[in-house]
Amino acid sequence: MKLVVAIIKPFKLDDVKAAVQDLGVQGLTITEVQGYGRQRGHTEVYRGAEYTIDFVPKVKLEVLCEDGEATSIAEKIIDAARTGKIGDGKVWVVPVEGVWRIRTGEAGPDAL
């Protein structure tokens, strides 16, 4: 089992969700995060004083999947999340050693 993690631009969330649903993904979890990267932050002004805010709002997606699906899911996310502009985000894959569905106690692929 794998966990596909993606950091994307928030307004791409609906597109990305639709895209992975097309692949038959039945569930995922998102978190509101703040990203720092090449897409430097921006200057904010506070009563005449400027300061740089390095962090930009991003959304993190986590999708548990079977081993073989990870790459296709990652690719699908990459396609759907791309705007071509700096700050589009990253996708990565982490190995997972066990998965359970809480409701039923089912384990492994059945738990997805």
Binding site: K9, F11, D14, Q34, H42, T43, E44, V45, Y46, E50, I53, F55, V56, P57, K85
Partner: protein
């Protein structure tokens, strides 16, 4: 008309000063009402567009706006008699020959000017709900100023000045059905179409980011509206009391009818529906507040709640993105109120009013109301279009922000700020 201090009533003055304060308070209320409905990344821009009106319009009003609305005795527009606060402290606006209007006033002319100032401030602010999330701030600044001078002042003159042609004609508007709501509503429609849809609308849901904020705004608006409507009596007497009661009842009734339709149609009575219905009722009763009595405000409210509910779905039918439903609530609600006044107006309530259809007045008043509505629609619509068109060309970048600026949020792109910082900081 020289102000004679012997005619001053401290009670009336107390009430109108307070009413002016209440109407001023409505603009922050409106800002919050709208601000809660946009997405978090646009909240400050929404607040700013509204607060900025308190700054810019106040100054423009005492410079030229008041004079253009209430100076002289012209039919179409005022003059420069009151330019730059000249004589405002000691003179009422002039009454046209044969009319006694300002000469009956018992309040200092300064507070009349200030009370009207607050109407001038909030009227263009109403438009911000329609252009939410995509208008360039500098474009808004220019639009705001030009629209106030070129559209608001003339229409206010037509309707509120006893020498204005609609006033003379006998069209009634107690507190701003045409001047405020239809005027701002049609401007909102024109701007909405010119700006185009928000990116992603209507495919992507754009739910309100903070409805409690919207409810704070609703509370302030309802509260302030007593100053708006009952203050328009300009005296503290039975008429003010009548306008007060009518205001509350219409808001209440429209809340109930809006929620009833929601419940019947969609299954759920929503909090935002309660707020929207109440505002629709407040809008509709505005022109009627000092001309109707008995249960009429309840009926007007009930009708407004239902009609505005359906008015809101127009945008989906016609595909224009009236972000926060200024058209459905203010344009539609303003027309509903102005026309229903032709039916429910009752001279027994206000002797300077007229009898509507239900009180033996036939269709006469109805006709006059229709003229006032159409005149406002046409004039404001055309002028708004011209102003916006010119600005779109003149302002660097045009009326609308870039796609990227829209995406990252107006707060950041227009004001270099964000509404909410990290909690843990």
């Amino acid at each position: 008309m020289l102000f004679d201090v012997n005619n001053l009533s401290s009670g009336d003055t107390a009430w109108v000063i307070m009413s002016a304060a209440l109407v001023l308070f409505m603009t922050p209320g409106l800002a919050l009402f709208y601000g809660g409905m946009v997405r978090a990344k646009h909240v400050l821009a929404m607040l700013m567009q509204n607060f900025f009106s308190m700054g810019l319009i106040s100054i423009l009003w005492v410079t030229v706006g008041y004079s253009l609305a209430f100076g002289g005795t012209g039919k179409w527009i005022g003059n420069f008699d009151f330019f730059g606060m000249k004589d405002v402290a000691k003179m009422y606006p002039a009454d046209p020959s044969g009319v006694e209007w300002f000469s009956l006033f018992t309040i200092p002319p300064l507070i009349f000017m200030a009370y009207q100032m607050m109407f001038a401030v909030i009227t263009p602010a109403l438009i911000t709900g329609a252009v939410a999330d995509r208008m360039r701030f500098s474009a808004w600044v220019w639009f705001l100023g030009l629209w106030s001078i070129l559209v608001y002042s003339p229409v206010a003159h037509w309707v509120f000045s006893p020498s204005g042609w609609l006033f003379e004609k006998g069209a009634l508007d107690f507190a701003g059905g045409t001047v405020v709501h239809i005027n701002a509503g049609i401007a909102a429609l024109v701007l909405t179409v010119m700006l185009g849809k928000r990116k992603g609308w209507p495919q992507r849901p754009m739910p309100p980011h903070n409805l409690p904020l919207t409810m704070i705004g609703t509370g302030i608006l309802w509260f302030g509206w007593f100053g708006f409507n009952a203050g328009s009596a300009l005296v503290a007497n039975g008429l003010a009391a009548q306008a007060f009661v009518n205001t509350n009842l219409a808001a209440a009734a429209a809340m109930l009818s809006w929620l009833a339709v929601e419940r019947i149609k969609g299954g759920h009575a929503t909090t935002l529906g309660a707020a929207s219905g109440a505002v629709a009722g407040l809008v509709a009763i505005t022109p009627c507040a000092g001309f109707v009595g008995g249960m009429a405000p309840v009926y007007i409210g009930l009708i407004a709640g239902v009609v505005c509910f359906f008015g809101i779905s127009l945008k989906n039918k016609f595909g224009f993105d009236d972000s926060l439903d200024v058209i459905g609530v203010h344009l539609v609600g303003g027309i509903v109120g102005s026309m229903l006044l032709g039916l429910f107006s009752d001279k027994a309530i206000n002797s300077v009013g007229a009898d509507g259809t239900f009180f033996g007045g036939g269709a006469t008043l109805l006709g006059k109301q229709a003229i006032a509505v159409v005149a406002t629609l046409v004039f404001s619509g055309v002028m708004t279009f011209i102003i916006a068109k010119v600005l779109d060309i003149v302002i660097p970048g045009g009326l609308r922000v870039s796609e990227e600026d829209e995406e990252s949020g107006l707060d950041l792109s227009q004001h270099a700020e964000v509404g909410y910082a990290l909690q843990s900081q």
